[in-house]
Amino acid sequence: MSPPLVEVSEISRSYSMRSGMFGRSTAVHAVDGVSLTIPKGETLGLVGESGSGKSTTGRIVLGLEPPDSGEVKFDGKPMAALGTAAWRAQRARMQMIFQDPLGALDRRLPVAAQIREPLDIHGLGTPDAREERVRELLRAVELTPAHGARYPGALSGGQRQRIVLARALATKPDFLVCDEPVSALDVSIQAQVVNLLCDLQAQLSLTLLFISHDLRVVRQISNVVAVMYLGRIVEIGSADDLFARPEHPYAQALVSASPAPGRRSAGRIVLAGDPPNPAARPQGCAFHPRCPHAVARCAREVPALAAVGGNRQVACHLVTGAETRDAA
């Protein structure tokens, strides 16, 4: 296996939230002790429901937000302090793509100018070389220079996302964080962008952190997948293997809730209860109030992520603590 490009160890991040105008402020643990490593040229998929801390993890990995504790290492070096020259140099090697391309683009600038912007900011190449690079990037995302002259409003959703992708690739980054990049797109356009992303990754040997709630898309693009629930990773393993045989009860429910053509809903696990509120994290295993298999221990102890053979790790007392189950 190639050496890791991104190493995240035990990062946590909490926000304070006030309930009501005069209420007491409470800490919301958005991310709680998350560790990840992404080898060079590979893709790590991060799945989970809203409020599970996927996006916050992505933002911390990219240095857009400092972690409260823990550390992010990029290419073996810790992230430089926000706003310094070293940070800027590091940031040119890592880029981010968001869900809403229209929100990420300036409506009053032709898109080619926006693709060029990172080159100007980081002072890469001569002005002529920058123009050439913009044309090259447009070609790379399968658009023409004519598209570059247009404004975002005159492009379709799929084309806009290609522009965002082109801009992200302008500085020749090694690492890309994609936060729900295809969720707003129609199925046929989604497939175009997913294919393009796979091709570009292979050509440029990009390393990706791919955040999505769509299990199908995540499986399509990822080598390794991590499932998050309330700020913690509950299961992590190779994409094919994890989706074929999820071990954690939450991962099982998530996989089974993903509708598939040609399969009727018989046998689907329907979880009771609402999606969890990060401000009121249950004691013990955060999933236990909704878990169909929860035992007394789950309400007391937080399960740690432990290896269960292969490269799979699961945080569940019932999966990892086989001896307790036998004893019970």
């Binding site: 294919n195 299990l215 509708p259």
Partner: protein, 327 residues
């Protein structure tokens, strides 16, 4: 059996731009029909037009019959009996469909007062029964709560309760789970199928998610650029799609198990309604298109029992089959 709803030649144009170009659709009593297609294909507009919910500047033509009675262009008094009474509709964004400053009880009772002949305490009792039915815990107390006190999944449950207030024969669910998380989506879909079974209600499920439709509907209609391009029982459609667009949609869906394959993306984008190509609207994106596809738009023709397709290739192969049968 006469259909519950039959739509024929339904067309809609907004300021001269056609968005719905002749939709024919029939729905039996108690049947679950799925409507899939990309944004702008006319899935929602079909039902908004059928129920007279489009703004006045929309030009609507064609016919929509409910139990044999024409409801397109019917007087407002008659439509008020249909909407919310015989046909109910729920939408993608449930939070914006509820009034934030009224309690759930007020809003549910309003729907009940309009469509049911109930008085005094009976109204409140029925409102409570409905909340119970859709699985809101502690229904009696929660009636006095405001919409913001419920989670997204619960608000959608309340919308379903309101839709059921008029004892409808048909529920139109327009992307009912799109804004919800996966595990909550599973809950709502299960609720919809339970309610449908218990009340013997027909349902139209509008969704861009092929998986959701496949699992919850008996029959599926695929729409493209304001027309239905294929209609089939759901298991047959997903196992063996005939129209190239339906094939493309299914091929574009990443598999959740088995080997990974490169996705077969449909090239290009949906045509602009103002600049609709001549002939088949899908032809410019179709890998199998021939010259004749650009001449006339194919009509929806039966290819097998309960299956119709609008594609000249399908028509040609059907003629060939019929020719063999005639010999």
């Amino acid at each position: 059996m006469s259909p519950l709803v039959s739509i024929a030649g339904l067309s809609v144009a907004f300021s001269g731009v056609p968005v719905l170009r002749g939709v024919d659709l029939a729905l039996g009593k108690g049947e679950a029909l799925g409507l899939v297609g990309e944004s702008g294909s006319g899935k929602s507009v079909t039902w908004l037009a059928a129920l007279g919910l489009l703004p006045r500047h929309a030009k609507v033509s064609g016919s929509v019959r409910l139990d044999g009675r024409e409801i397109l262009g019917a007087p407002a008094a008659e439509l008020d009996q249909v909407r919310g009474g015989r046909v109910a509709m729920i939408f993608q964004d449930p939070a914006s469909a509820l009034n934030p400053v009224l309690t759930i009880r007020k809003q549910l009772c309003e729907a009940l007062a309009l469509h049911r002949d109930l008085q005094g305490n009976a109204v409140k009792a029925e409102a409570r029964r409905l909340l119970d039915l859709v699985g809101i815990p502690d229904a009696g107390r929660r009636l006095e709560a405001y919409p913001h006190e419920f989670s997204g999944g619960q608000v959608q449950r309340i919308m379903i309760a309101m839709a059921l207030a008029g004892n409808p024969d048909l529920l139109i669910a327009d992307e009912p789970t799109t804004a919800l998380d996966a595990t909550i989506q599973a809950q709502i879909l299960e609720l919809l199928s339970t309610v449908r079974r218990e009340m013997g209600m027909a349902m139209v499920l509008i969704s861009h998610d092929l998986g959701v439709v496949a699992e919850n509907c008996d029959r599926v209609a695929v729409m493209y650029a304001g027309r239905i391009v294929e209609q089939a029982p759901s298991n047959q459609l997903f196992a063996d799609p005939v129209h190239p667009y339906a094939q493309g949609l299914i091929g574009a869906l990443p598999p959740l198990d088995g080997p990974r394959r490169r996705l077969t993306a449909i090239p290009g984008t949906v045509p602009d309604p103002a600049m609709m190509p001549d002939g088949c609207a899908f032809a410019p994106r179709c890998t199998l298109a021939s010259e004749s596809c650009g001449h006339t738009a194919p009509s929806l023709a039966p290819i097998a029992d309960g299956r119709t397709v609008a594609c000249i290739r399908a028509e040609a192969s059907r003629r060939a089959l019929l020719g063999i049968a005639a010999e």
